[in-house]
C-alpha cells in the first residue's frame, strides 16, 4: 500500500482553495474512490456528484491534473502518484460547491432544439423498418452520457463564454443524432446556423479528445452538420435557385 496526496478544490468564503488530503492507495483504485475515502473519513461535507461509478451516467466529471475526465474512469495507476493529484471542478460552468458545478444551462439548451419528429410508419402495424447500417451512425451519438466534459473543454464556451450563441459539442452531437435518425422528419438546419452557432466551431477537436465514450464528435457530427448548413445556405447553385424561386 502506498499513500498519495490529493489537492482537492474546496469552496470557501473567499471563493475557494486547494486542500491537501492524504489517501491510502490500493491496486485498482480510481480517483472517485480516493474522493469517497476523503469524504467518509476526513471531509464529510465534501460535495461531489456521482451515480454509477462505471462510466455510464456521466455524473462525476471533473478536471484531474488539469484534464477533463470522469473521476470513476481515471485509474490511479495511470497517474503519477509521486506528485499530488489535483482534482477540481469543471471550469466552464458556474461553481456551486467544491467539485459540483451548475450545469443547468445544458438542460435549457436541449429544450431549444427541435425535438424528434417521426415520419409516417412504414408498415400497416405502425412500425418502421431501418437497416442496422443506418442505425449504427446514429447510435454512436446516442452513446453520449451527458457528462458535459466536451462542453467544459470547448474554448468557445470555456474561454469566450459564448453560451448564448453556441450550443456546444454535446448538443451539436445531439442535433446530429436527430438529423441522421432515419425516422426523423424535422429540419434543424436553419436553427443550426441562426441560433445554435454551428459556424462558431473551428474544429480544434478538443471535444472529441476528452469524450469518455470515444464519440468522434468533430468528424462524425459537427463537420457533417456544417456541410449541411453550407449546402443549404452557401452553395452557389442553391443560392441561384433561391433567387429564381423568389
Amino acid at each position: 500500500m502506498t499513500r498519495a496526496t490529493f489537492k482537492v478544490w474546496r469552496s470557501d468564503d473567499a471563493g475557494g482553495h486547494y486542500q491537501d488530503y492524504s489517501v491510502d492507495v490500493v491496486p485498482g483504485m480510481v480517483v472517485l474512490d480516493a474522493i469517497h475515502q476523503i469524504q467518509a473519513a476526513q471531509a464529510p461535507d465534501l460535495a461531489v456528484r456521482w451515480n454509477c461509478k462505471a462510466g455510464k451516467c456521466g455524473s462525476c466529471s471533473a478536471e484531474i491534473n488539469g484534464n477533463p475526465r470522469l473521476m470513476c474512469m481515471t485509474r490511479l495507476n495511470s497517474l503519477d502518484l509521486l506528485a499530488p493529484v489535483t482534482v477540481e471542478p469543471m471550469r466552464a460552468f458556474p461553481l456551486l460547491k467544491d467539485l459540483v458545478t451548475d450545469v443547468s444551462w445544458n438542460f435549457r439548451v436541449k429544450k431549444a432544439i427541435t425535438p424528434f419528429t417521426a415520419r409516417p410508419a412504414d408498415a400497416p402495424d405502425g412500425t418502421w423498418r431501418m437497416r442496422q447500417k443506418d442505425v449504427d451512425r446514429v447510435q454512436e451519438f446516442r452513446k453520449c452520457i451527458e457528462c458535459f466534459l466536451c462542453q467544459d473543454v470547448c474554448h468557445i464556451l470555456r474561454d469566450h463564454k459564448m453560451h448564448d450563441e453556441f450550443i456546444g459539442p454535446r448538443f451539436l452531437a445531439y442535433t446530429a443524432a436527430l438529423e441522421m435518425n432515419p425516422l426523423d422528419a424535422a429540419d434543424r438546419v436553419p436553427e443550426l446556423r441562426e441560433r445554435h452557432g454551428v459556424g462558431l466551431c473551428n474544429i480544434t477537436r478538443c471535444c472529441t479528445k476528452v469524450c469518455p465514450e470515444h464519440i468522434t464528435i468533430t468528424e462524425n457530427a459537427i463537420i457533417p452538420l456544417k456541410e449541411r448548413v453550407v449546402d443549404r445556405f452557401y452553395d452557389p447553385l442553391t443560392r441561384l435557385l433561391r433567387v429564381f424561386k423568389s
Partner: protein, 605 residues
C-alpha cells in the same frame, strides 16, 4: 416556523428513472399539472445502468413468442408468488410500450429485415429482449427524458424528499429539500407517484448507485402503506469482483446471451452440473447445443448459463465455497472462447457488448476479447416493494401510487432479466394514467403545516448533534457490512435474529449521527437522511425473510433449503403498527383465473 417554498401540482412524481419519467409523461398527456422530483440530475437515475434490454413479446426474431409465453416465463421465474394480474398486464402491454419508444426517437438494434432485433436472456423461452448494444437503459431513459422535457414537465432536480404528507388517510403532498442550497420545499398534490427504485445500498456489494436507499419504500411504510415480498432480493450472478474498487458493478447477462460461459478454477463448465427439474426439458445438456442456441438456432435448447439469476448465483457461491473459485473469490466468465467457433470474434464481441468491453478495458485493464472476466454475485434488485393494485398501481393509501422497482408484485420471488425495463414502461404508464384520473376526481387538499414543521425539524436534527457524535458514513458502512454477512445470499434463522439485534444497535447509532458544515450541498447530511430509510428497509427485509421458512427464488434459507408448497399460497407483508413497531402478516394470493392457469400448464411442456 421554518421558511419554505410551496408548490402545487395535480400529480407529483418522485423519482425520474424510467418509471417516474413514463408516469410523468402519461399524467401530463392526460392534461393535468405534473411535477417531477429527482435526487440526482435528470437522466442519471439507475435506469442508465440497465444493459441487456427490454423484454417484450414482439416476436420479431422467433414467431413462436407471444404474450402468453412471456406471462408463463415470468410466473415460472417468480416461482408463482407473483401478482398474476400484473404479470398478465405486463406481458400483454410491453410490446406497445416498446414500439411507442421507437416513435419517440429510441433507436434499437435491427433484424435483417429492418425490424427491432431481440436477444436471448435467462429464463425467457425465446429471444425477447429489444436492445441497443448493451446500453439499453441509457437509450430508454434518454428517450423518456427528452420526450418529457419537450412536453414541458416541471423538474425539480437534486432534491431529497424527507416525508410524505397524509391527511385523513389520503396522500396530500411531500416535504423535502433541494440539495444545492439546503432549502426546504413543500409540494401539495392530489396524487403522488413513488418511483424511487431499489434498496441495494443496504448491502456492501451492490450494483446500485448511492441513490438506491429505499426512499420510496421507507416513505410509504412510515406513511402507513404496506410493503410486500421484501425477503425477495435478487443477487445478480455476475458482478465485477476485481479490482476491489469496482466490486459489485454489473456485467450484463447479455455476455451469456451472446455465448459467454462460466468456468471454475479447474476450467470446468460447472453450470451443466445442476439443472433444476422445472427447466430440464428446455435446457441444453451439451455444449454444442448451447452454443447453437446463442447463435439463433431455433431447434436448440438454451445453455445452462441462461438459467434464472437466483440459480446461477447459488451455483457460483457453491463453486467458491467448494474451493473451486477464481483467485479473487468468484468464477470466470469467458466470452473470448467464441473465437474457436466464430471468425471475426473480436470485432463481434466489441459490436455486441461495447460497454462491457469498454468497462473491463478501462476499469480492470482486461481485454474481454482475449481473457476471461472474474465475476461473482452482487446485490442487484429487490422484487419486494410497496403493495399496489395491479391495474391502477395505487397503494393501500388513497392517492399514493407506486411504480417500477419500489412497487411489488410483478416479479414474485425472482425477476427475469429484461423484465425491469418493460415493468417501468408498462406500470409507469399505468401509474401516471390512474394518478391523473385520481387527481381529477379528488381535488387537492391543503397540507397540514404541523406535519410539515415536524418533518423539517427532524430532517435538521443531524446539525444539532455534537462533534463527538457518530459519523453517518461509518454507520452506513456498518449496516452494509452487517446485511451482507447476515441477510445475504444464503440465510439462516440464527444469523437473521442476530441481524435484528444489530439493527436495534445501528438505529440507536444512526439517531446520534451528526454532521459538520452547512446545509449547502452537504453529502454528510444527505447520508444521515438516507440512513434512516436504509434501516427501515433492512428491518423489513430481515423480518420478512425470517417469516418465510423455505427457499424460493431470490430467498434462500440454508436451514430450509427446499420449496414448501404451503408458502406458495401467500405473500408476506410488513406494516407499521401504531406504536411504531413492525408487524409481519401473511396475505393470501388471490386465486388465478382458469384461463391464465391453462396458459401456464400449456407452456410447461
Amino acid at each position: 416556523m421554518t421558511n419554505f417554498e410551496a408548490f402545487d401540482y395535480d400529480v407529483l412524481v418522485i423519482g425520474a428513472g424510467g418509471a417516474g419519467l413514463r408516469a410523468a409523461i402519461e399524467a401530463s398527456a392526460a392534461g393535468v399539472k405534473v411535477g417531477l422530483i429527482c435526487k440526482s440530475l435528470l437522466g442519471k437515475a439507475h435506469t442508465v445502468m440497465a444493459e441487456g434490454g427490454v423484454a417484450a413479446a414482439l416476436a420479431n426474431v422467433d414467431d413462436r413468442d407471444s404474450w402468453k409465453v412471456h406471462f408463463a416465463d415470468t410466473m415460472r421465474g417468480g416461482q408463482y408468488v407473483n401478482n398474476w394480474r400484473m404479470a398478465e398486464l405486463h406481458a400483454r402491454e410491453a410490446p406497445d410500450r416498446v414500439r411507442e419508444l421507437e416513435a419517440w426517437g429510441a433507436v434499437f438494434d435491427r433484424t435483417q429485415d429492418g425490424r427491432i432485433l431481440q436477444r436471448n436472456f435467462g429464463g425467457h423461452r425465446y429471444p425477447r429482449l429489444a436492445h441497443v448494444g448493451d446500453r439499453t437503459g441509457l437509450e430508454l431513459i434518454r428517450t423518456l427524458q427528452d420526450q418529457g422535457v419537450h412536453r414541458g414537465l416541471d423538474v425539480h432536480m437534486e432534491f431529497t424528499v424527507v416525508s410524505l404528507l397524509i391527511s385523513d388517510g389520503r396522500a396530500t403532498g411531500v416535504v423535502g429539500y433541494e440539495r444545492e442550497r439546503g432549502r426546504f420545499k413543500v409540494f401539495s398534490a392530489a396524487a403522488v407517484v413513488l418511483a424511487t427504485g431499489g434498496t441495494g445500498r443496504a448491502y456492501k456489494i451492490t450494483s446500485n448507485s448511492w441513490e438506491g436507499t429505499g426512499d420510496g419504500h421507507a416513505l410509504a411504510y412510515r406513511a402507513g402503506a404496506e410493503l410486500m415480498d421484501m425477503e425477495f432480493i435478487q443477487f445478480h450472478p455476475t458482478g465485477m469482483i476485481w479490482p476491489p474498487s469496482v466490486q459489485g458493478i454489473l456485467v450484463t447477462e447479455g455476455v451469456r446471451g451472446e455465448g459467454g460461459i462460466l468456468l471454475n478454477r479447474e476450467g470446468r463448465r460447472f453450470m451443466f452440473d445442476d439443472i433444476p427439474e422445472p427447466y430440464r426439458t428446455q435446457t441444453a445438456d451439451n455444449e454444442e447445443e448451447g452454443w447453437r442456441y446463442t447463435q439463433g438456432d431455433k431447434s436448440a435448447r438454451r445453455p445452462p448459463e441462461l438459467l434464472t439469476r437466483d440459480h446461477v448465483a447459488r451455483c457460483i457461491v457453491r463453486e467458491v465455497k467448494a474451493g473451486r473459485g477464481s483467485p479473487h473469490g468468484g468464477v470466470f466468465l469467458d466470452i473470448a472462447w467464441i473465437k474457436n467457433r466464430l471468425s471475426g470474434a473480436e470485432a463481434h464481441i466489441k459490436r455486441k457488448l461495447p460497454s462491457m468491453y469498454h468497462q473491463f478495458k478501462e476499469l480492470g485493464d482486461i481485454d474481454i476479447t482475449r481473457e476471461p472476466m472474474e465475476v461473482g454475485p452482487t446485490t442487484h434488485y429487490i422484487m419486494g416493494g410497496i403493495r399496489v393494485d395491479a391495474d391502477s398501481q395505487m397503494s393501500t393509501i388513497p392517492g399514493l401510487f407506486a411504480a417500477g422497482e419500489c412497487a411489488a408484485g410483478i416479479n414474485g420471488a425472482n425477476r427475469l432479466g429484461g423484465n425491469s425495463l418493460s415493468d417501468l414502461l408498462v406500470f409507469g404508464k399505468r401509474a401516471g394514467e390512474y394518478a391523473a384520473q385520481f387527481a381529477r376526481q379528488n381535488p387537492r387538499r391543503g397540507v397540514d403545516t404541523a406535519q410539515v414543521q415536524r418533518a423539517i425539524d427532524e430532517a435538521l436534527q443531524p446539525f444539532d448533534r455534537s462533534a463527538s457524535s457518530e459519523n453517518p458514513y461509518t454507520v452506513q458502512a456498518a449496516l452494509q457490512e452487517m446485511m451482507q454477512s447476515l441477510v445475504g445470499i444464503v440465510r439462516t434463522e440464527g444469523e437473521m435474529q442476530q441481524a435484528l439485534e444489530e439493527l436495534t444497535r445501528l438505529t440507536a447509532r444512526a439517531a446520534r449521527a451528526g454532521i459538520t458544515g452547512h446545509r449547502e450541498y452537504n453529502p454528510g447530511w444527505h447520508t444521515a437522511i438516507d440512513l434512516k430509510n436504509l434501516l427501515t428497509v433492512s428491518e423489513a427485509i430481515t423480518r420478512s425473510a425470517l417469516e418465510r421458512k423455505e427457499s424460493r427464488g431470490g430467498h434462500f434459507r440454508d436451514d430450509f433449503p427446499d420449496k414448501n408448497p404451503e408458502y406458495a399460497a401467500f405473500n408476506i407483508v410488513t406494516v407499521q403498527r401504531p406504536d411504531g413497531t413492525m408487524e409481519v402478516r401473511r396475505v393470501p394470493l388471490p386465486p388465478m383465473p382458469a384461463e391464465l392457469q391453462q396458459i401456464i400448464e400449456d407452456q410447461k411442456s
